[in-house]
Structure formats: C-alpha cells, structure tokens
C-alpha cells in the first residue's frame, strides 16, 4: 500500500516514488544545464569576434556539447519530471511502475554519460544535427538510442499512470488541463522518438560500416525527431504556463474546449511542420514544401496563438474577478512581480510569442527562408523559443517545485527574485542581436566570420561588429541569470531549510 504525503499548500496526495523520480530527473536536468551553460559561454565568446576565445576544433566540440545538453538533456530530463508531476502528483495517484521508472532513468543517465564522454573526447564533433556523412563514433549513436529508449519508457509509464489513476478513481471528471497538455507532449514524444529510432538505429549501423545511409533521407527523417522534440517542449511549456498562472495568481481557464483543441492541433500538425527545416533543400519539391509549411505549419502556429491569448487572458480575468478592474492594465501592474514564478511566466510568454513566434512564422515562408537559412537569424529565433520561452518557464516552475516537491525553502531568495529578469533581458538582447546579425548575412555555426585563411575575401558591414558585441553582452547577462538559477536551485535542493509536512 502506497503511503502518500499530503502537500500542505495544494492538498494533493503525493506518492513518495513520484517525489523521488521528480527529484532525480530535476537534479540531472540541472547538472546538464550547468554543462551546457559552460559550453555556451565558450561558444559565445568565440562567436564574439573581438574575443574569439576558442580554437576551431574546440569551438565545434563545445557547440555540439551545448546543443545536446541544452536541447536534449536539460529539456528532456525536466520534461520527464513534468510527466511524473502531471500524472501521479496532479491526479493524486501512485506511479504505475516505479521500478520501471528507475530503470528508464538509469538508461537515460547512461546514454547521457556515453554521449558526454564521446563529445568531450573529440569522438563526436558532429554538432546537434549529426548530419550524415559526418561520422561520430558508434558509441555516440548508441548513447542517443539508450537515452531515447529511456525517455520512451517514461512516456509509456506516464500513460500507464493515467490508466491507474482512472481505474482507482483518484480524480473526478476529465483530466485537468495541465495533465491534458502533458499528455499531448507525451504523444508528440512517442512520434518524435519513433522518428529517432527510424534514423539513429540505421545510422548506428552505418557508423559501424555495416550499411549505407542516404544523406537526404537522413535529413528528412532526422527533422521528424529534431523539430518534433522541440514541440514536446512547446506543449510542456504551455502546460507549465497554465500551471504557473494557477499557482501564482489564480488565473482562470477562459474556455477549456478551446485550450484542449489547441493542444490537439499540436499533435496533428507539428510533425509535418518539421519540413520548414528543409525549405532550401534542393532535393524536395515545392509542392511538398508549400503543403507542409504553408498549411500544416500554420495550424500548429494557430495552436500557439490560441494559448498565447488564453493564458494572459486567463490571468487578466482571474485578476479582474478578484477586484483589479481599474483601467486597462491594473490587473497586470498589481500582479506579484516579485514572485519569480510569475515574472518567469510573463517573460516566457512575451519572448516566446513576440520574438520566437514572429520570427519563426516569417522564416517558415519558403521565399523568405532563402535569405534567413543558415544565418544567425535561425539560432536567434530558436533561442527565443526554447531558451527565452521553454527554459525560462521551466525555471519559473522550479521555484514552486522546490517547496512543493523537495519540501525546501528557496535559498538566496533575493537573487531568485531577480533571476528571471536578468535571464529574460539577457536573452532578449541576445536573440534580437543574433537576428540582426543574421540579417547582414552572418552565418550560423561558424568559427571565424572574418574568413581570415579562406581563399576568398568576404567583408561584412562594420555594423556586424557592433551587433555581435551586443549579442555577446546579452549572452553574458543571460548566462549570469542562468548561473544564479543553478546556484539557487542546487543550494536549495541540497542545503535548503526543510518545510513541515504531513503523512496519510
């Protein structure tokens, strides 16, 4: 018989196994964030041409480390924690099979360790996309497969826990919206990991010299993994938006059906939208590109626009119903801006929508993609979505996970309060400057944009030096915010003051 603890704040019954699995995944997520963050500083100070810190081999190595740790390990370990929270905790249920959860966690950690080892020892300088025919050691692909299998098992465990909760009648009525959103993230995860298996298993055998992999087929299938994985982030991030809105300010859900329909749009259309990564690829025809990016993609974008309206509208309505009715923005002005969960929520919505969303939809237009593809505009866009949007939302919810799950007070609370501001402002400057630099044609993923030893001469506008300097400063401000987050969370988790709790 599972002995639950009762959360004194929310009144939810919490399975200690869910607690432990959330903690384990959150701790590893933070460790990988630290590794990816250190790599980010190395990459940043090399791209900042006036500093140009690293030699070429270490630049590409740390760029690979940065991409894998930030886009895969940090985000996915955190999402695994979100899946346990949204199923077992929010539904007052036990975890369906905790031992399976621990086995999956071990697989993910093992895969992560193997990949980190291959990257740092220079056996996998293939960047995040690992495009064939760039070849890494077979250990790298094996590590990816182990990690993906672990993540898939957690996803299946999430669905199993939903079934257990339903059978044991631990909740009334429909699934809560946050759990519903997490379920769509989990469905997209299954689609994503299917693409991952379809491409990484053959590539593993290719790296052993046992078969061929067509470079174009690789790109096509890989983006079914590469982009869809970021859409897991979006679905999880939106779920966190709804959760943070409810926790910080008591926001209301304007219309459950519309919000749930928007989540379903993600499931139906986002995989096809992955085609926008191949808009300038000469191997695919215009009809295929136009269908996938001008129709399917806009339906997925529509989902984000619906959430981008319903979340702030729910906050506004929640505030107005509590008496903040003066003028147009009294509800926003009198919101709890000193609560790091709330400030992270608002900045996440703004940066994701205004910077990430607008640039993303624009670059998704086939003709415009020709002038944006492979320039710094692209990382400018996805740093706004994944970092300014998803990572910042995850940071915000961490300030609630620490007291509610770890049962600890937040250490260095004054620093925690300014952390979302620093991170958001830094990331806003960084992403905008990257986008501007890309407009001048500055390439992404490039060690030396002076082309000092190249057989041809290419000069960028002098403005580029200024913009790259601004990008460097913005990146350092964001890194400071990220560093504060790591210090605050690690200190709180391991040395924080414990809170009282009850058991039933």
């Amino acid at each position: 018989m599972t002995q639950f603890r009762v959360c004194p704040t929310t009144g939810l019954k919490v399975d200690p196994q869910a607690d432990a699995l959330i903690k384990a995944n959150a701790v590893v997520a933070t460790v990988t964030l630290l590794i990816g963050g250190i790599a980010a500083i190395g990459v940043l100070l090399t791209r900042w041409q006036a500093v140009h810190l690293l030699p070429a081999d270490w630049f590409y190595r740390l760029l690979t480390v940065h991409g894998m740790n930030m886009l895969i390990f940090f985000i996915l370990f955190f999402e695994m924690a979100v899946l346990y929270f949204a199923s077992a905790v929010l539904l007052n249920s036990r975890v369906a099979a905790p031992k399976v959860g621990w086995a999956a966690f071990a697989l993910m950690v093992l895969g992560t360790a193997i990949i980190e080892w291959t990257m740092f020892t220079g056996q996998a300088d293939v960047l995040f996309t690992s495009y064939v025919p760039l070849r890494a050691t077979p250990w790298y692909y094996l590590g990816v497969i182990l990690f993906a299998v672990g993540a898939l098992v957690v996803t299946i465990l999430f669905f199993a826990t939903l079934v257990v909760a339903k059978r044991e009648k631990t909740y009334q009525g429909s699934l809560p919206l946050v759990t519903f959103g997490a379920a769509t993230a989990a469905i997209i995860a299954v689609i994503t990991l299917g693409h991952g298996a379809a491409i990484y298993i053959p590539t593993f055998f290719w790296s052993l010299g046992m078969m061929n992999v067509d470079a174009e087929v690789y790109r096509l299938v890989w983006w079914g993994l590469g982009h869809s994985s970021q859409q897991i982030n979006v679905a999880a991030m939106v779920s966190v938006w709804y959760l943070l809105g409810a926790l910080t300010i008591g926001s209301v859900v304007i219309n459950e059906k519309i919000s749930r329909t928007a989540f379903v749009l993600y499931v139906l259309f986002i995989s096809m939208a992955s085609a926008h990564h191949l808009l300038v690829d000469p191997g695919f025809g215009p009809a295929w590109k136009v269908w996938n990016t001008s129709y399917a993609m806009y339906l997925a974008v529509l989902a984000s626009m619906i959430h981008g309206f319903t979340v702030p509208a729910g906050i506004e309505l929640g505030q107005r119903l509590r008496g903040y009715t003066k003028g147009m923005f009294d509800w926003l002005r009198r919101a709890p801006w000193g609560d790091p969960g709330f400030s992270a929520l608002i900045f996440s919505i703004i940066i994701f929508g205004f910077v990430g969303g607008i640039t993303g939809v624009t670059f998704g237009t086939e003709q415009i993609n020709i002038i944006a593809h492979n320039t710094l505009r692209v990382p400018g866009h996805f740093h706004a979505t994944v970092v300014g949007g998803t990572a910042l939302a995850f940071m915000g919810v961490t300030y609630y996970v620490i007291p509610l799950i770890f049962r600890k007070k937040i250490a260095f609370y004054a620093l925690a309060k300014i952390q979302p501001y620093l991170f958001a402002v830094g990331m806003l400057i960084f992403s905008t400057a990257m986008t501007f630099a890309g407009t001048f044609g500055v390439p992404r993923r490039h060690w030396d944009i002076t082309f000092s030893q190249a057989p041809f001469d290419l000069q960028f506008s002098p403005t580029v030096d200024l913009v790259m300097g601004i990008m460097g400063i913005g990146g350092l401000i964001a890194a400071t915010g990220g560093g504060i987050y790591i210090v605050v969370t690690v200190w709180s988790m391991f040395f924080g003051k414990p809170l009282e709790e009850a058991r039933v």
């Binding site: 910080t248 209301v252 119903l321 237009t365």
Partner: protein, 62 residues
Amino acid sequence: MAMHGLPNGVTNPPSPLPPGAGDATESHKAPGTMVLVFVFLAAFVVYYFVNWKLLSGVWQVG
C-alpha cells in the same frame, strides 16, 4: 539579502474566486489582453513586411 524564502503563491495563495464568478467566465471580457493582441499583430505585420522588402532587394524580378 533574504537567505531563504518562498514564492507568493505558496505563502499567500491566490484567494478563491467570489461565489458564482467562475460560472460566467466565458462571458467576461479581457480588454487588456486584446490590446496586447493588437500590439502583437502590428509587430508581426511590420516584421513580415520588412522581410519581404529585404527579399525584394536581393531577388529582383524583371
């Protein structure tokens, strides 16, 4: 500096909605959010137009 602390939502959870307020949420208005929606729309239109303008400069027809 406050060494330890808790977010507002934990120490001072949002007050419950007034009785009956939640029943009619679908009929309530969110004018502030609508203003933000139009700011977003304007930003989108400007950015989209600027990109087509940039494209026209490098890919001239005729």
